[in-house]
């Protein structure tokens, strides 16, 4: 196991022993809990509603062929530009991020298309497991992001989402809810801060 080079073991031991002198009182047992987010009705519609309220787009497609047609018709991936796709049957790409030696080579990608594992109805977030990507930075460098989610993978709330994630093999994973945004200037919402300037989630089935 690697340990600290500076500060080192002495700092660690001193801090840990000081923390043992805490004065936290009352019932300090780990609580049993469950807080389902109920009453959202149809989960796909609820997900779509929340995602659109945070600046994202949500397309409900009947099947993969339908999704492919919607994407083609949207013009989102019309040339020119670099399109990086990890979902080739829906979105054919022309840029292979896996072949790029350095993440910075992804700087001009116009659209990145990836699989989303889970959609969360209560907050419009999509869980993207980036473990298998050679460059996780692609998710944030791409001008637009398209996430493809199975309709059956839409869950009501964060509690159900975490229940589905096995962190064992995960090296990095992201909940992404809408495009990047900021309100740092006078509370005025601006879509497209540093990450993707637009986000489309295609829900299949």
């Amino acid at each position: 196991m690697k340990t600290a080079r500076v500060g080192g073991q002495t700092a660690k031991q001193a801090i840990l022993s000081r923390l043992k002198e805490h004065a936290v009182a009352g019932d300090t047992a780990y609580p049993a809990y469950s807080h389902p987010h109920t009453g959202q009705g149809d989960l796909r519609q609820a997900f779509k509603g929340v995602l659109e309220s945070v600046g994202g787009e949500c397309w409900l497609a009947g099947d993969r062929a339908g999704a492919r047609e919607m994407l083609a018709a949207s013009g989102l991936m019309s040339p020119p530009g670099q399109f990086c796709s990890y979902v080739e049957d829906i979105a054919p790409g022309n840029f292979d991020a896996e072949a790029a030696a350095d993440v910075r080579e992804c700087r001009d990608v116009r659209v990145a298309v990836l699989k989303g594992e889970i959609g969360v109805a209560e907050n419009g977030a999509v869980w993207v497991d980036a473990t298998r990507l050679r460059h996780r930075g692609l998710l944030f460098l791409a001008e637009s992001l398209v996430l493809v989610v199975d309709g059956n993978a839409i869950v009501p709330d964060m509690e159900s989402a975490y229940a589905r994630i096995d962190f064992g093999p995960v090296r990095s994973g992201y909940f992404i809810s809408g495009p990047s945004k900021t309100a740092d200037i006078e509370q005025c919402l601006v879509i497209g801060a540093h990450g993707a300037r637009s986000l489309v989630v295609i829900v299949i089935g």
């Binding site: 660690k12 923390l19 805490h22 780990y30 930075g137 944030f140 992404i176 006078e186 509370q187 801060a193």
Partner: protein, 463 residues
Amino acid sequence: MKSHAVLAAGFLKDAGRARWHDEALWYVREKRDRLVRSVPGWEELRDTAHAIKRHALANLSSYLEEFERNAAARGAVVHYAADAGEHNRMILDILRARGARLLAKSKSMLTEECGLNDFLESNGVEVVETDLGERIIQFARERPSHIVMPAIHKKKEEVGEIFHRHLGTAAGESDPTALTRAARVHLREKFLAAPAGLSGVNFAVAETGAIIICTNEGNADLVTSLPDVHIAVMGVEKLIPRSRDLSVFLRLLARSATGQPVTAYTSHLLGPRPGQEMHIVIVDNGRSDILKSARFHRAAFCLRCAACLNTCPVFRRSGGHTYNYVIPGPIGTILAPHRDLKKYKDMPFASSLCGSCSAVCPVKIDIHRQIVLWRNEIVEAGYLGRVKSAVLKTATAVMRNARIFTAAGALGRRALRLAPRFFYNNRLTIWGKTRDLPQLPARSFRSQYKAYRKTGKAGESRD
């Protein structure tokens, strides 16, 4: 150092700006309320968050060791820093060992607390804040006035002026979209050029060794995924036991902070990306002292959401720069005295004790009660001003004795009728500067009550 009251008087001189600031924050508070109402069982969720924090902090040393084991197994290097100085030197050493002279940084209140930027700059490292609000105030050479919206005190025209000077945007350009685009182009180059990136940490999960970072702009994600070295800094209190607990905290955090259902990005990092070095610096810097305090340890439950700032009538009407501690508002008020009771003795008095902070706190910290207790400590320590001390001593003597109290009441009612404004609006009683007394009753409650018992009729309370 000027006191909060003096600085607030300065802030309030520009009435238009003061109102604008108040309204901007109240707007966020209202957004929070709308989002909170949409979540069934919000109060139970807060209770659970409180219980998880209580459990985690009572077992912190073992959770830290569990976290370190798991993070190290995934390839991260874990460091411990006892204080701000150690934290700063560690980061400089990591950067120097890799010859990094440019650091891209996402938002971290811990580094503000430690004074990292000044330290690195004076040691020849260029630090680039990449959160838009942080970049604005870094250009302006100010400190954040708010822990989530650091440049909330700046008008868009002022931001335009700053960007014109530093980024060459057109003179007079003040459109937030145009300014944000300019910052995007400018900072994209920095992300791509920086050999090292530094981020804060919102949560650290013991059972997996994961660190979780929540942002809207996506800057933390570029800072953590592009450079070849990623340094994450966190206070010891960020530890939570299980991944599942994230569901509780993430459902509370963004709704409480900015009135969003969740932040745009919630990043879970379990070790470095391939080819990258990842350092996690775990900092005490006084946190173990807070946890040792029977009265005040709950201040360490804080998630830094800033809901208490947005709702606070004093914060909204005085602005973050009127608080001398790096963290302003109600939560800053109960953290600052741990650092230096004498230096920050004015802060616990910058409160109306209305309790709104405690009512919105997602982890149910009893903030306003702690503020009262800190006033206690300040009196005990003898740090109260002479005038206030004398007034309180007199009031105590009067209120302790029923006869003196009755006599004083009668005297007061008469005196105030004869010369009302003099008594509460002279140079000594600053209370009257912005307040007026209600009309006084002719008779005390006590004599009215006596009369009522005798006659069975409520007597006239006024002349």
